[in-house]
Amino acid sequence: MEFSLIRSDRGAFLLEASIAVAIIAVAMSGLAISLTRCADASLMLGKESRLRTALENRLAELSAENLPTGTNTLVVANGAITIEQNVQFASVRGRTKELLTGLYEIHLKAAFANDAWPPLQTTRLIYKP
């Protein structure tokens, strides 16, 4: 059997079939990519939610306890999440004197301990006179 790359009087042949298959392959690749991204987005949502919850929990705990100034590293969620916290005094000064004391600036950064997922961080001011 002989195949021809140019149109003959026999109908559609190898070149046209190849183009059709290539078009379908491109479409299916696009579908596969979108499917992967959809799954990744769902995974990202879940992971980000876990990190955000860990940060909120830590902020609530810091609100209730005496704030230790300096940098600390904590491990929470059964060792799955690492939180780096940095607590510093934050002063509100006027021209001549300090207007507000007891203000702390808290910087928290949460990351998965065994995962290269990008960390989530936040900065809050807490007033504890």
Partner: protein, 252 residues
């Protein structure tokens, strides 16, 4: 001998034909006549533009492969979409529950009292968080009308899962229906645990103190969750002291 099955019909493309030219048995030539067949002057010439059986089989094979691939892809897409929807719905419920409880605990008044105790319901050991002296705490519906205790309680269902309910306990009910109104905050829990942090910083499973705990912690696991979710709720009122205002004549 002719191999064309439709040679007597007029040619309409794409009629399936076996063109005579492709018959290799006679070198692409018309087969020899034995003299018995009468010539048919009305017969049309064979159509040259037609598909061979091999081409049709090849096209059908490719079509089957492509259809199978598309079906598998669509099936996987629908499954992933369904899982994503379920996961997002769970995340939304978790977020909404956490936010509702956070606001409720953040707005508790100074003279509020919290007690945490275990309760045995249908054989399960569950905890009940009771909040007293907190008018309209965790309120729904009529926002100004409930001054009795409120209970945040996991309640077992017949399928083994738990519902988390907010129960308004009416201390002076006039009817049985008024004794306790409840609303389901969230369902499909496999685990619900409460604990409170006492002033010394210890997490406790029971609490009946007069003083407010510093923090309330809820740990839960929804059906389908891989891990236990934990939320810590701050009670700002626990850090404040109630100072009763004296009357002007008592100042001296």
């Amino acid at each position: 001998m002719r191999l064309s099955l439709l040679s007597g019909l007029p040619c309409f493309a794409p009629v399936v034909r076996f063109p005579v030219e492709r018959n290799s048995a006679f070198g692409g030539k018309r087969p020899p006549s034995n003299g018995n067949t009468a010539p048919n002057s009305n017969r049309q010439p064979p159509c040259k533009a037609a598909f061979t059986l091999l081409e049709l089989l090849l096209a059908l094979g490719i079509l089957a492969l492509v259809s199978g691939g598309i079906f598998a892809m669509m099936s996987a897409t629908m499954q992933v979409t369904s899982e994503t929807e379920t996961r997002q719905e769970r995340a939304r419920k978790t977020e909404a529950l956490g936010e509702f409880l956070r606001k409720g605990f953040a707005n508790l008044p100074l003279k509020c009292r919290i007690s945490l105790r275990g309760s045995t319901q249908r054989g399960g050991n569950l905890q009940e968080l009771l909040i007293e002296n907190a008018p309209n705490a965790f309120a729904w519906g009529k926002r100004h009308g409930h001054f009795g205790p409120v209970s945040l309680t996991p309640v077992p269902r017949s399928d083994g899962l738990l519902d988390l309910r907010v129960i308004k306990i009416n201390p002076k009910p006039t009817t049985v229906a008024e004794a306790a109104e409840w609303i389901r905050l969230a369902g499909n829990f496999r685990l619900v645990e409460w604990s409170v942090m006492d002033p010394s910083g210890q997490w406790l499973d029971n609490w009946t103190g007069e003083q407010l705990p510093r923090l309330v912690r809820m740990r839960w696991q929804l059906q389908g969750d891989d891990s236990i979710t934990e939320r810590v709720f701050d009670i700002p009122a626990s850090r404040l002291k109630f100072v009763e205002k004296k009357k002007p004549d008592e100042k001296t």
